[in-house]
Amino acid sequence: MAVRSPLYYNAGNLQEMSTAMVDEIVDQIVYQYSLNPSVALSVVGSSGSLASMNDTRLQAGAASTSATAFPSEATTAEPSVVTVTYDKITETRTTVTPTSDTGKLWPAYYNASGNIQAMNLQDVKDTFLHPAIDLLAAGTLTTQQAGTYHINSSTTVSGSAEVSGSNTAVFVNTEADTSLYTAGGIGETLDQPKTVTSFYLHKITGSDTSYTLPISIDASNNLQSFPEATFESLFQEWIRYTAVSSTDGYSLSYNVGTSGSGNTRGTGMADTRLNGSGNYQTRFVNTDDYRAQEFPNGTSTTINTYYLRINKS
């Protein structure tokens, strides 16, 4: 672990950056990542690459009919569970080939011998890239996680953009709409759900934060402040590469499930369901038509809560 303090040009002098200044660069790297995330999620119709989620709800049992008397509760079919699977989130990982270090690629720092030395890749990882990944992989939802995703039950979230672009929910929690079931309507449609909550995938929008450009060693072995475009392009390449291809524990990935690795992102997607054993109702149509049916009932109970998680590994 070799966290360096890059040098920067300060009114004619070279000065080591403070921790806060390094943090500003890390924030800028996060912003660069947000401009073109290499680990991207998208909303698809089906067969998403992430794990699927099940929305379950009760539906009424089938109605029973008798010409002589009302079917008993025991003989009337119990409400059953309807399961709808949501498999709408796909992760796309973009392969990146970043610029190789030729010895003078990275910012320069003041080494222990009192000389100015270009950082090596490990220095850059320890100082910039891995802290940026740490931020990206955090469970919070700020601009320091720009370019990463979270779940929200609203289609609009300040500081984020709905991914599908058409307010397509990635998970909808439904329950039986008990108000729709009436004894007079026995012979009711079995599955009469209502949407309790829809969940949407959002991407956090980046913020182009200010920062101080560090010193680098140019082709003539002179010192110069990094050209801004060069610096940002270089670090965008490398944060994207790291997020996809890190072999030392800093690649990003997403998963969905009731459990999993990483930090949860956004709202948990609860699958709730009424927990009643059935609301036995009868209907006298005529002397030759006695009906009975069990409607969904009970209180809403969480069956599962799914989370989108971001994981570094």
Partner: protein, 321 residues
Amino acid sequence: MAVKNIAVTDTLETFRTTFNDLAANDFGDIANLSGSISSTNLVDAMNETISIATSTAGWTIIDSTSTSQIIGGGDTLTVLGTSNEIEAVVSATDTLTIGLPDAVSVTTSITAPTVSTGNLSLTNGSITDSSGAISFGNENLSTTGTLNAGAITGTSITGSGSTHTLGTIQISGNTISSTDSSRININDTFRANAFETQFGNLIIDELLGTDATYYPRIRSIRGDKVVVFDASPVFNSTIAFEGSSADDFETLLTVVNPTADRSISIPNESGTIITTGSADAVTESMIAPDAIGQNELKSLVTLQILNSSGTVLKTLYGAGA
């Protein structure tokens, strides 16, 4: 004298020449006849002479002015001298001696090829003395001509007129010059109170110092004090600059004894010479580009620029605290 004879057969020319010779050499020229003789032909003259000789025992005396006087027989001839000039002495039996007195006084002049007195001889253009020396006592000698001498010695040699020449050295007033050259050579030490150049712009003299000793001095009396050295002066080891004030303080320019030929060039530029005593004097423009090396820096510190592998890319040198 032979008898002249003209033969019958002789020619008229022979006659003419013989006759002329007879007239000129045998008879003589009548013009040469004594003035005491009045006759105009040879026979009459001879007769007149016989007459005189036989009539008296007298004779004639004539002086240098052709004044003559006949001394007749029985007459006395008195011979007198002139005091301090000539004297006449009659002595037996019939001798008259004409001579000079011991002290001769000549009123006008005396002429002789050579005049000698003692060892001294005066002859044409020459006064000599066999003793090898002629003394003029304390008399003044003057000549309007030229005095040529092997050597002239004396307590004082004074000339008159505007120009005097000794050999080819000419003295005119207070000016000495050469008559055959533009240069006078002095083959010995020449000392003067001061030496000045043609127009007096350069003076070499000695300056009496406050320590009562004399200091050699070369000075220019030009307003700008310029002395042009079209030469390569060689000094010993030190040049002293008095400065604007003649006092006890001088700036010495001294060279360490060179052990080989050295060359120090003064550049073609204006400026002030920097010394080890100068402080805060060397300016940026005085230092040539690419001229300062790491060894010239005080308390050298280095700053290396390394690549990411630790290889030195560049080393920066600076002066330390």
